[in-house]
Point group: C2
Chain length 154, copies 2
Amino acid sequence: MSLPAARDKFRSFLTRRGLRATSQRLAIFDAAFTQGEHFTADQLLASARALDDSVSRATIYRTLPIMTESALLREVDIGSGEKFYRSNRDGARTQLAQVVCLDCAKIFEISAPFMEWYGSTVSSKLGLTPVSQRLQVSARCDAFRATGTCPRRG
Amino acid sequence: MSLPAARDKFRSFLTRRGLRATSQRLAIFDAAFTQGEHFTADQLLASARALDDSVSRATIYRTLPIMTESALLREVDIGSGEKFYRSNRDGARTQLAQVVCLDCAKIFEISAPFMEWYGSTVSSKLGLTPVSQRLQVSARCDAFRATGTCPRRG
DNA sequence: CTGCCTGCAAACTCTTTGCACGAAT
DNA sequence: ATTCGTGCAAAGAGTTTGCAGGCAG
């Protein structure tokens, strides 16, 4: 999905929800959508300010949940203090598991369709309805342990 | 495992690591081990103080990682701001998945042995060695949504 | 005795919120 | 014109840390 097309989707999502299409929200959206990898609120603030230097940290935090609810952005919480985000360029895919490398500080995402089945099965036995599920693997980098450097390391 | 037996294991773990068996550490351990459910650092502080009122919050936070490394305690991070802990009364079991009820604020744990297999399979393809994995389902309580009350709710 | 451990309080990180001004509809 | 949205700065929650004194080995 191209940026203009995605931005239009975001605009209409805002309108549908009775929210205003402010220049800050659009700048934040553009920054998020053109971000390559997973990013933090702080990195998003820097990118958004490059497009519109009036963007404040508060508005970043107020806009992130809006973008998440629009499904144009996904939140990825790997339990590391700060949350990560990633734009949903390819639309609603199947469920993703995360493999987090503790040496490379990198997040790999892998399709895990069985996760949804597992969530439903297990929830119904408890009288619950699943809302979301996450599967995460923490791992160490073999190359890093062997050579002291990892090709993926920043 | 009985409390005295568990406490002995903790003592010998401390010695093996060159750490001192202070009265505070032992009180915190006893409090953790006799806690019934999942508990937070704050709840542990209250319980430990009931046994030894000299225990401080700082020592709770300094002792939790020690107990976790001794494998007598497990950390359960459901991504809710504060971490939960649970004593490992039954020794090293199979991998557990968590089902978190958003209405009841309760954590159910379910054996999920396939998680370990998944972690290894997926990691090796990336040149990684798995350290840990977690599988969590967030869910809403059917009873609560229907009647406004949940039998499990506190 | 030595130096690891402690309580206290302040610092820290990430996120949220109250307020008065400013801009979208 | 209305209201919703904004930046600023302060508050908040949970956890960590520097320091001077205390107790285990």
